[in-house]
Amino acid sequence: MRGLLPFLGQRMLFILPQLFGILLVSFFLIKSIPGDPAVLMLGPTATGDAVAALRTKLGLDHALPMQFWYFLVDLVHGDLGTSWQTTRPVLEDLLQRFPATLELVTFGLLLAILVGVPFGVASASHERGWLGRIANAYGLTAGALPDFWLALVLIFVFYTILQVVPAPLGRIDFAVLPPPTVTGFLTVDSLLAGDWAAFASAASHLCLPVLTLGLVNAGPILKMTQSTVERMLHSDYSRYEVLSGLPRGMVVRHALRNALPSIITIISVLYGYLLGGAVLVEIVFSWGGAGQYAVQGVLNSDIYPVLGFVLLSAIFSLFVYLAVDILYFAIDPRIGR
């Protein structure tokens, strides 16, 4: 593990300028959206004086670069600003909503891995068989499906017709008391509290959105697994193993192990992407997640929720990438030893 620490240090060195760049761009982008928050907050009947007073209070009367500077100063003190829509500090809002999105995305991605990797391996090792054909067709179809549409179709089938899942309204039944917050994942928290009613409700609300995300995102994972494992199986060491008479299963297992870095990379990219990318599915299921919060912010000139979300998801992606780099060290003996 000798090369790991300097590598991580170098990585950290690049993160700060990048985060700064992301904040800078999003700040000026959101500020350039027409619409004055002060006017929006007070409504159409407000007097000019009231609007001016509120603008001063919010710091909107300063020049844009000054406003950005104040935002940065507050940020360093752990203050992400206040959302005028929820009238609560953005940090509080996000701490509540981020786990909601994370729970959805994590389970969705787990399902996608469970579908994508075995299918991909199977289709790579039986290129010309029916399994290969099905996997090929699935890979192409899954990439073409709009997730928000698939969500609607699933709702129609499983809620409207079969009535086996609850209505697509949030994360838990209104009648069920949510468990005390520990991780923010309702399923995990209810298990920790030993509250089976809450767990059943949360799990049943998770079913359809997780199924949607899982089915759609299994596509890219399947394709990546298939193409990398296929390449590994055509490589010299695999041919040598076949010639030496090793069992087929073992050859495939070795090929998969060598394909793992690419598969882990695509999974990590999807993880980061889905935090914001799952927003359409969140909207369909009224999930109340972080992505939905940010989109509402953009559509209503509410800048701080957007900045907070962009910052948090960028940091999250960076951590995922870091974890992936550490994983590489663990699985690939050629790196850093």
Binding site: A144, L152, F156, T160, P168, V298, L299, F309
Partner: protein, 317 residues
Amino acid sequence: MPEAEATTGAIAETGRTSRLATLLQVARARPRFALGYVIVLAAVLAGALAPLVAPYSPVEANPAEFLQPPSAQHWLGTDAVGMDIFSRVIYAPRIDLAIAVAGTLLSAVVGCLIGAWVGYHSRGGGLRGWLAYLVMRAADVMQAFPVFVFAIALVASLGQSVQTVVLAIAFVNIPIYLRLMRSQVMTIREMRYVEASLVAGLSDARTIARHVMPNAMGPALAQLSVNVGWSILLTAGLSFVGAGVRSPTPEWGSMIASGFQNVVTGEWWPSVFPGLALAVTVFGFSLIGSSVELFADPVKMRRLTRDLAARRRERAA
């Protein structure tokens, strides 16, 4: 006849037939690729011929006939305000395809030009090398954004219209082409013929345009088709949250969104049909994309033509 076919197969194997002939061979051996071209052609034709084919106006509401299920009068039913869904579904490619194709082409042109310039100057020092470095870091920042939130913010800040959706899609796609082109150009820049062109007295710009770009375009071109499909999804997604094309303009995403509440109560047709049209079209573009990918991969092509020739010989025997 079988003998003649076996010969063409053998010729293709040595790579002497024309590219078109090989492409036709591939299409015959892998019918799903042909399907991709058929689907996209059908979508384009539907959009082009919509005024002739559509039985109703795509934007006129008829409140007397709201939420009619599919029938002989309304093939795909009507939506909540009584607009004919079939007419709207076949008009929609005019908007969806136009936006996706325009956005993708724009991003490809801009991304490739910047990418070529950056790649050409990347290893150089001085002001240009520094500028190239800066462009790459800007691309890093752009790609670190949550794509969807970024696109919505762009549309919102530029004002909601078809043109701004095109711009937003072009903008979020630029880094893809920029990176592809840069890495290509960085390899080609070291080639002898580039050196020769410079020694012969051609300017940097002319060398890039005449000798570097044409040789570096391959991967970017292969990306185009898949990217169009992806842009259609993004366009529809933007309309779905209300940040894209506005109703009553016929557009698949906003049609799905407007039928959203009806699906929950059991009227599935206002959302399901436009979504199906959207999914099939994107599917067609990804098929074309994978045919181009296969066509551009010499190893896989060789394996395929060899298999084809073997199969023909078998049949002939």
